[in-house]
Amino acid sequence: MAEAATRQALTPPAPETIALCSARFGNYEVPLESVLHFPDGLIGLPRARRFALLEPSRPEIPFRYLVCLDLPELGFLVCDPEAVFPGYAAEVVPAGGRAGAALLVIVTVPENPREMTVNLMAPLVVDGESRQGVQMVLDTGRFSTRHALLPAADATPAAAK
């Protein structure tokens, strides 16, 4: 009896990962503790509730994929807004964002990638501790859903200075 109990105690715990099998983004084992939970989903996508942020292959690049674990072919290119718009977080917090929460903005890449935009009106706000997130809406007129990420393509380097 005692021996059986010991053996049971030594049984390794169930693997604490979720398998992501996506034709689009690849296959990953996502540790449970790194799953991001959006209880309300994203706007227009109420079923997209659990996400994984894939590690960037090149850390110096501000872009990463945020892939949905509920709808594995659904994913977004996201970026750290501070890398492209310093000071953005400071404007989001007084508008209702939580201090200390992580911010991501969704990137839309059109046919011409130089014209890619970020959605500054509806950032993703994720609490670092609970890993719960929400797509916040900054309906202040200050931010657009299509803010150009790069300076205008026709701006010459001289004009940019």
């Binding site: 706007i43 227009g44 990463r64 969704i106 959605n119 509806a122 809406v137 990420l149």
Partner: protein
């Protein structure tokens, strides 16, 4: 569609937790005050639609979006220096 007529200051209640009060009527503009629990998200319709469309467009960015964005970003960083 349920259609109700309300006077200035009057209220419509939606379920147990949500009220909509007519605060001001001026020309073709109406100001409404909505009270609802924090879990009920309230948007102006055009804002909701714009964000939903942007989410859809962003989701359609091909699986090559990361590479394309990275190339464009790096080229711009090089041009800056």
């Amino acid at each position: 569609m349920l259609i109700l007529t309300r006077k200035l200051g009057e209220v419509i209640r939606v379920g147990d937790d949500v009220t909509v009060r007519v605060l001001e009527v001026r020309g073709n503009q109406v100001r409404l005050g909505v009270e609802a629990p924090l879990t009920v998200r309230i948007y102006r319709e055009e804002v909701y639609r714009a964000i939903r469309k942007e989410n859809e467009d962003a989701a359609l960015s091909g699986a090559s979006a990361l590479d394309e964005a990275t190339d464009a970003w790096q080229k711009q960083q090089r041009d800056k220096h």
